[in-house]
C-alpha cells in the first residue's frame, strides 16, 4: 500500500516538472516518465493488457511524435 502511495507521489512530481520546465526536451522526458509509472499502476490494478498497450504507446510512440514536432518548431519556451 505504501508502495502505491510512493508511485503516485512520484508520478505527480514528474507531471508538475513536465509542466514547469522551460526546455521542451526535458518536458518530453518527464512526460515519458509519467506514462512509465502509469504502466506500473495499471499493472498493480491487475490489468496487464492495458499496461502492455500503455508501455508500447507511451514509451515509444508519444516520445517520437513529440520530438518530430519539436524539430519542426522551437526548442526553448520563452
Amino acid at each position: 500500500m505504501i508502495f502505491v502511495f510512493l508511485l503516485v507521489l512520484l508520478m505527480l512530481i514528474a507531471a508538475i516538472a513536465a509542466s514547469i520546465f522551460k526546455d521542451l526536451i526535458s518536458a518530453v522526458i518527464a512526460a515519458a516518465l509519467v506514462s512509465l509509472i502509469a504502466a506500473i499502476l495499471f499493472y498493480l490494478l491487475q490489468a496487464p493488457d492495458v499496461a502492455m498497450a500503455e508501455a508500447a504507446i507511451g514509451a515509444a510512440l508519444v516520445t517520437v511524435v513529440f520530438i518530430i514536432a519539436i524539430r519542426r518548431t522551437k526548442r526553448f519556451e520563452e
Binding site: 496487464p48 508500447a56 514509451a59 516520445t63
Partner: protein
C-alpha cells in the same frame, strides 16, 4: 520469505527516488535522459519481481514487451540532441 521480498521492493523503491532527484536536478537534457534510461531498466526488474509476488505467469509478458520496445524513444531523442538545435 514474503518479508524478504518486501525488503527487496523497498530497496528498489529507494533507488527510484534517487533517480527522480537526478531527473529534477540535472543541469542539461542529457542528464535527464540518462536518469530515464536507468529508471526504465529498474522498472523491468521491478515488474518481474511483482509478477512473482502476485504468482501470475501472464504478467511476465508486460515485462517482455517493455524490455523490447523501451529503447526506441531514447534513441530518437539522442538523434535529436546529436544534430543540434
Amino acid at each position: 520469505m514474503n518479508g524478504t521480498l518486501i525488503i527487496f521492493l523497498a530497496i528498489i523503491g529507494a533507488g527510484l527516488i534517487l533517480c527522480f532527484l537526478r531527473m529534477l536536478k540535472g543541469p542539461t537534457a542529457s542528464d535527464r535522459a540518462v536518469a530515464v534510461d536507468t529508471v526504465t531498466t529498474t522498472i523491468v526488474a521491478l515488474l518481474v519481481l511483482l509478477g512473482f509476488i502476485f504468482e501470475r505467469y501472464v504478467y511476465l509478458d508486460v515485462s517482455l514487451v517493455y524490455s523490447m520496445i523501451s529503447f526506441v524513444g531514447l534513441v530518437a531523442l539522442a538523434r535529436f540532441l546529436e544534430r543540434g538545435i
